[in-house]
């Protein structure tokens, strides 16, 4: 049986046991109709998903993880709220949430009181549409765990939130789903951190709603093992004067596909997309982004940088859409790739679709090697060649990483970068 049929029949078997209250039947019907994305789909042209569709993955997963194991993860011990999701199961016992403010809700999206709440009803599935693609449809069909963050008007959690996703099951597909809602003037800092080992698929969707003048710092940090597949969609809806600071750091996994969209639906919005990816032996990392300017006088700024070594490959597809009404838009995009070997490859595709006439937009993409003049300059000061290369690569990546505002997270990511550049 192919994977599509297998998953549809699993849905029929599990249907009765899944948390009610969300449009699961519609989602599986959408999956049945659109299936997995085909190569002829423009958004998936450079992305070969055969390693996933040729596999036999089940959504049935077990979870057993103890405190000792979880404490190995440095992030677990940070000064933060931490939610643990293991093999696609929300682990309330190991999660640490310090929150006494009634204006802030942090918990399992699929708890009855959350899933039935008006806030969820009004926002769930409104930004990441199940009909958009097969992976999102699958996620909406099966998701049973994920994080719900609601920060009400003027509120601000004391500590950043870390969603620690750990997956170690074999031949499984876990579908996690997060929903983050910031009301007017609210603030939050949320990091999704992924660790995976063994052969499995993480199919993750995060929906984000930012009301007027709210500010979200959102990090996604992918530390997966070399057999893991990750398909993730982060779908943002920004209202007037809201600010999004997104950083996506990808250096694990056999296969990563990140889709990041923001609907810029008001004036005075700031939308920052930052990304760094490091693809080594047998790794494929694909980032698709969309800054969708629907209203006038807002600003988006994107910087994605990659290093590709051995036979690794990367795709960057960044689209800036400026709709007819979005006059006075400022939209900038830069993508840089450094190839460290002859077999490494990068596909960069910037796309500008502009339907307004009074806008400032620019994009630039470069693919090349480390600058040899810079190497010589460092060597001429006594710095050894390999150290010089490491320094330049580190500097190149840090221009992205340094923008992570959560200090402990930024330091950990920087330390990991140094380790990875040394190995």
């Amino acid at each position: 049986m192919d994977l599509k049929s297998k998953l549809i029949s699993e849905y029929k078997e599990l249907e009765k046991t899944l948390t009610p209250g969300i449009a699961r039947d519609e989602a599986i019907a959408a999956f049945e109709s659109v299936g997995f994305p085909a190569k002829k789909n423009e958004e998936w042209r450079f992305t070969n998903i055969a390693p996933i569709t040729n596999g036999s993955f089940t959504v049935r997963t077990d979870s057993a993880i103890g405190r000792k194991e979880i404490e190995k993860y440095k992030e677990y011990n940070f000064d933060a709220n931490v939610i643990v999701i293991h093999n696609g199961h929300y682990n309330g016992e190991l999660s640490k949430i310090h929150n006494t403010d009634s204006k802030i809700i942090i918990g399992n999206l699929f708890d009855a009181k959350n899933i039935k709440s008006a806030a969820v009803k009004n926002h769930y599935g409104k930004s990441a549409l199940a009909a958009a693609d097969g992976f999102t449809a699958l996620n909406a069909s099966f998701s049973e765990a994920g994080v719900f963050v609601l920060v009400k008007k003027n509120a601000r959690p004391e500590k950043p939130l870390i969603i620690l996703n750990i997956t170690d099951s074999n031949d499984t597909m876990s579908n996690t789903r997060n929903l983050i809602i910031l009301e007017d003037n609210a603030y939050a800092d949320v990091s999704e951190v992924y660790y995976s080992e063994n052969k499995n698929v993480s199919n993750c969707v995060t929906e984000i709603f930012l009301s007027e003048n709210s500010e979200l710092h959102h990090n996604k940090i992918q530390n997966d093992g070399i057999e893991s597949f990750h398909v993730g969609t982060t779908s943002v809806h920004q209202e007037k004067s809201s600010r999004l600071y997104s950083s996506v750091i990808s250096w694990g996994g056999a296969f990563i596909r990140n889709t990041l969209n923001s609907l810029i639906d008001g004036e005075g919005i700031d939308c920052y997309f930052r990304g760094f990816y490091l693809a080594k032996e047998n790794q494929f990392i694909d980032n698709h982004t969309l800054a969708d300017h629907a209203k006038p006088a807002s600003h988006s700024n994107e910087l994605y940088r990659g290093i590709i070594d051995a036979n690794g490959s990367a795709v960057f597809n960044g689209k800036i859409m400026v709709r007819k009404d979005a006059q006075k838009t400022n939209a900038y995009q830069t993508n840089n790739n450094i190839l460290l070997s002859d077999e490494a490859s990068a596909n960069a595709k910037p796309q500008l679709e502009i339907f307004a006439d009074d806008v400032k937009c620019s994009h630039g993409a470069t693919t090349g090697q480390i600058n040899e003049d810079e190497i010589f300059y460092l060597r001429a000061r006594g710095i050894g060649e390999s150290e010089a290369r490491k320094m330049l690569l580190s500097a190149y990546a840090r221009e992205v990483i340094d923008e992570i505002s959560f200090g402990q997270m930024r330091e950990l990511v920087s330390a990991r970068l140094e380790e990875k550049l040394s190995s």
Binding site: F376, Y377, L378, R379, A380, G382
Partner: protein
């Protein structure tokens, strides 16, 4: 300190240096002058080990070692410093971090421990003052957004930080106004002592009013065709290079 004998070198199969002979002793300042394309910058590149500059004949001894066998970084660790004609911009690396790494790599090669933070900061402050460089500039990315003058001053600052035995200044005066030129020259003069030496490559005599050389050499078509004292530089300033070219013919 430095002994160059019959050095020939080529880049991409083009012979640029055609048998250079030069002796530099500790405490000396040698000026190398010459018209454009005579091989001045090539000599600097060959001495500092830039890739693509291949010595085809002759030898270069530096304190008794065969210099041409050393990597660029090992030459720097042995005390050779090049002040670049076109300093490179390095986004993402601050001058402070650059100098700390360089100093500690040099110390490591000699089996010494890294400098303490306090020692390093003191040196940074002292040397910045020496070349009248705002120490705040050291917190910025190397040369990024610097004016031409600031870049050249940053080269001399780096030289002061690393305290080389042999400093090679490659057209450090180009693009400098007279005030910046004086500051740069003043910095070099303060670094001069009986144990170190400098090779000052320049197209114009102007710099040599401020960094007074012990010897002046004229490079033409890849050869030193005339050597003398500082008066030779003045004569070149007055009469240009044509009489040299005629003499060679």
């Amino acid at each position: 300190m430095l002994s160059i004998k019959n050095l020939k070198a080529k880049i991409e199969n083009k012979e640029i240096l055609n048998g250079i002979n030069l002796e530099v002793k500790p405490g000396e300042v040698h000026a190398i002058m010459g018209p454009n394309g005579s091989g001045k910058s090539t000599l600097a590149s060959v001495l500092t080990g830039k890739d693509g500059y291949e010595a085809t004949a002759g030898e270069v001894l530096y304190n008794g070692q065969n210099l041409l066998e050393l990597s660029a970084e090992d030459r720097a660790r042995e005390g050779i410093f090049l002040a670049f004609q076109y300093p490179v911009e390095i986004p993402g690396v601050t001058t402070t971090n650059f100098m700390k790494t360089a100093l500690n790599e040099i110390r490591k090669s000699k089996g010494q421990d890294p400098m303490t933070a306090g020692e390093f900061l003191k040196r940074l402050k002292d040397k910045a003052a020496l070349v009248e460089l705002d120490p705040e500039l050291a917190k910025r990315y190397v040369n990024v957004g610097f004016s031409g003058g600031e870049k050249k001053r940053n080269e001399i600052f780096q030289m002061a930080m690393l305290e080389p035995k042999l400093g090679i200044l490659d057209e450090t005066d180009s693009g400098l106004d007279i005030d910046a030129l004086k500051i740069v020259a003043n910095g070099v003069n303060k670094l001069r002592n009986k144990d170190n030496a400098f090779i000052v490559i320049t197209h114009y005599q102007r710099l040599l009013d401020y960094i007074v050389p012990d010897f002046v050499h004229v490079l033409y078509k890849g050869k030193i065709v005339k050597s003398g004292t500082k008066e030779l530089a003045l004569q070149l300033e007055d009469e240009g290079y044509d009489w040299i070219k005629e003499e060679v013919v």
